[in-house]
């Protein structure tokens, strides 16, 4: 009885908070499929999705490598300051993306410390590099945060065993360490991807939001909503594709991981 009502509360809460809004969006999309389709296939929307995927691919690649290196330093490192690194890596989770975007504008703006780029034609702000930087910033912690506990759990004995068997540091990493943390890395990559695709605040400030050029998919949704003039079908349609992409990534992860790989 107690367990049943607890389950009811949990499911009810999920429905109210998660399923409800998504279901509503799917419903609205279905109401005007033609309108949604026209918006989705609009060249500017296609360009927005292409930009989002490109930015996500770069941010995920960079942060996967950085996240694994960081986790190794935090768990295995022997250097002073790794406690500080451990604390700092969570900063993007605590900081509002708007502040991230704003500080990037301050730094790379023509009067900022790194203003040289902007002044000399290497556009960072209101261009792809700025969007990439903002996305890398907000998605920084995910891989490291997933990998750190797994690295702690596997310990160093397997790596030491590999060393006594003749494996170099590099061989030990590729053959022992990386396979041991692979599911943590996959999970971190999934979270990073989802966050990168969905990022809005930081990107909104640094991108310039030029349709067909520096407009990402989330910015395109915002635009479609702002300038709907009563026709919300485009906003719903593009939102639906974004949400479906995120859900697909989650499902893919569940399908890919072997049974019992994650407790």
């Amino acid at each position: 009885m107690g367990r049943l009502s607890l389950r009811f509360v949990a499911l009810g809460y999920l429905t109210l908070i998660l399923i409800g809004p998504l279901a509503m969006m799917v419903w609205r999309t279905a109401e005007d499929l033609d309108g949604a389709w026209t918006a989705i296939t609009h060249p500017d929307t296609v360009a927005a999705f292409a930009l989002t995927l490109k930015v996500a691919a770069i941010a995920v690649s960079v942060n996967t490598v950085f996240g694994i290196v960081c986790a190794l330093v935090i768990v295995r490192g022997n250097i002073p300051g790794r406690g500080l690194l451990n604390a700092f890596i969570d900063l993007p989770l605590a900081l509002s993306p708007v502040i991230v975007g704003f500080s990037l504008i301050a730094l790379y703006g023509v009067n900022g410390w790194f203003g040289w780029f902007q002044r000399n034609g290497f556009e960072i702000l209101f261009a792809t590099p700025g969007i990439v930087l903002a996305t890398i910033f907000v998605t920084l912690p995910f891989v490291a945060r997933e990998v750190v506990p797994t690295l702690r759990e596997i310990g160093t004995e397997q790596e030491q065993a590999a060393q006594t068997l003749g494996a170099s540091g590099w061989q030990t990493f590729w053959r022992i360490t990386l396979p041991s943390i692979r599911w943590a890395v996959v999970y971190g990559v999934v979270l990073t991807t989802a966050r990168a695709i969905g990022e809005f605040g930081a990107v909104a400030l640094v991108s310039g939001n030029i349709a067909g050029q520096t407009q990402t998919a989330t910015l395109r949704v915002e635009d479609a909503y702002q300038f709907a003039y009563g026709n919300y079908a485009p906003a719903y349609g593009i939102s639906f594709v974004l949400a479906a992409t995120a859900i697909l990534i989650l499902v893919l992860m569940i399908v890919l991981q072997p049974k019992g790989a994650r407790r």
Binding site: E157, Q160, A161, A162, T164, L165, G166, A167
Partner: protein, 317 residues
């Protein structure tokens, strides 16, 4: 290959783990480093393997100074207490690891792995993962993996410590037989004196980062160098300034000059052996190891007052 450990000192912050330790391990011997936890025995083994660096001193393997060499270049086989199995690899791939790293031809690897699987009695389990093996099987896989690279020396760090008593005894026998076949110079770290006595032909007793005595199992038991060895290797009671083994106490029913009066608290039967737990007048506890026949002959019962006398006692200056 012989191992020579010369004046090794190792500190962890303020704690002195090893204090000027020197030991020699003869070629083809099986040596046990025996001591309580914290005596530095595992640290010493890890220094021999290159998994830990000594602050001072040198390690020679087969006459060559390997002190500065990384573990990869020492040719040691190392077996860990908690197996250190490569969890994402099959038994076959675990054993083949060292050979794969050395880029040996596939056929050669397959042949060698099969041979080792037979040696450690894991035939038919090659495709399993470590999680599908029992503790004893995992440790045999660990041994096969270490032996695959034809190590100059085999180092075992409490290899049977995580196993239950029966499997431990089995593997101990098996290790001894394996050693008699392969004659690989072997060092085993253990805190279990019975294990050391049974398996090794040389025992180095360690305490607080120092070597207390090196000798054959019989020597360290019968001619202990000091009070620590006397009490750590086998049981011993302290009677005033002397030490006596439980089986060197004679029990009589009548007092006789040099005897002490004691009461039998408990009689414990182990088949042929019988242990008498005794309490002296001053509350001091003693135990005597005797035989079932002897106990029956004297018609001993608990609560009875008897007299004990050391037949052989050892004094350390």
């Amino acid at each position: 290959m012989s191992i020579s450990i010369r004046h090794i000192t190792k500190r962890f912050d303020d704690f002195v783990a090893l204090d000027d330790v020197s030991v020699d391990v003869g070629k083809g011997s099986l040596t046990a480093l025996l001591g309580p936890s914290g005596s530095g025995k595992s640290t010493l083994l890890r220094i021999v393997a290159g998994l830990e660096a000594a602050d001072h001193g040198a390690v020679f393997i087969d006459g060559q100074d390997v002190t500065a060499r990384p573990p990869q270049k020492r040719g040691v086989g190392f077996v860990f207490q908690h197996y250190a199995a490569f969890k994402h690899m099959t038994v076959h791939d675990n054993i083949a690891f060292g050979l794969a790293i050395r880029k040996r031809p596939k056929a050669e690897i397959a042949e060698r792995v099969n041979q080792l699987l037979r040696l450690v009695q894991l035939e038919g389990l090659a495709k399993r993962y470590p999680s599908q093996l029992s503790g004893g099987q995992r440790q045999r896989m660990g041994l096969a993996r270490a032996l695959a690279i034809d190590p100059a020396v085999l180092l075992l760090d409490e290899p049977f410590g995580a196993l239950d008593a029966r499997v431990r005894a089995e593997l101990r026998d098996w290790l001894r037989r394996l050693h008699d076949e392969t004659h690989t110079t072997t060092v085993i770290v253990t805190h279990d004196q019975e294990e050391a006595m049974e398996v090794a032909d040389q025992v180095a007793v360690m305490s607080e980062g120092q070597i207390e005595q090196v000798g054959s199992p019989r020597e360290v038991y019968e001619q202990p160098a000091n009070a620590f060895v006397m009490t750590f290797v086998g049981q011993a009671h302290r009677l005033g300034d002397t030490f006596v083994r439980p089986h060197d106490l004679e029990v009589t029913l009548e007092p006789n000059g040099s005897t002490r009066e004691v009461m039998i608290d408990r009689i414990v039967h182990f088949g042929f052996d019988v242990r008498l737990d005794l309490v002296g007048g001053d509350g001091e506890r003693l135990s005597v190891q005797t035989t079932r026949d002897q106990a029956e002959l004297l018609e001993l019962v608990s609560g009875q007052i008897v007299y004990v006398r050391p037949m052989r006692a050892t004094t350390f200056s």
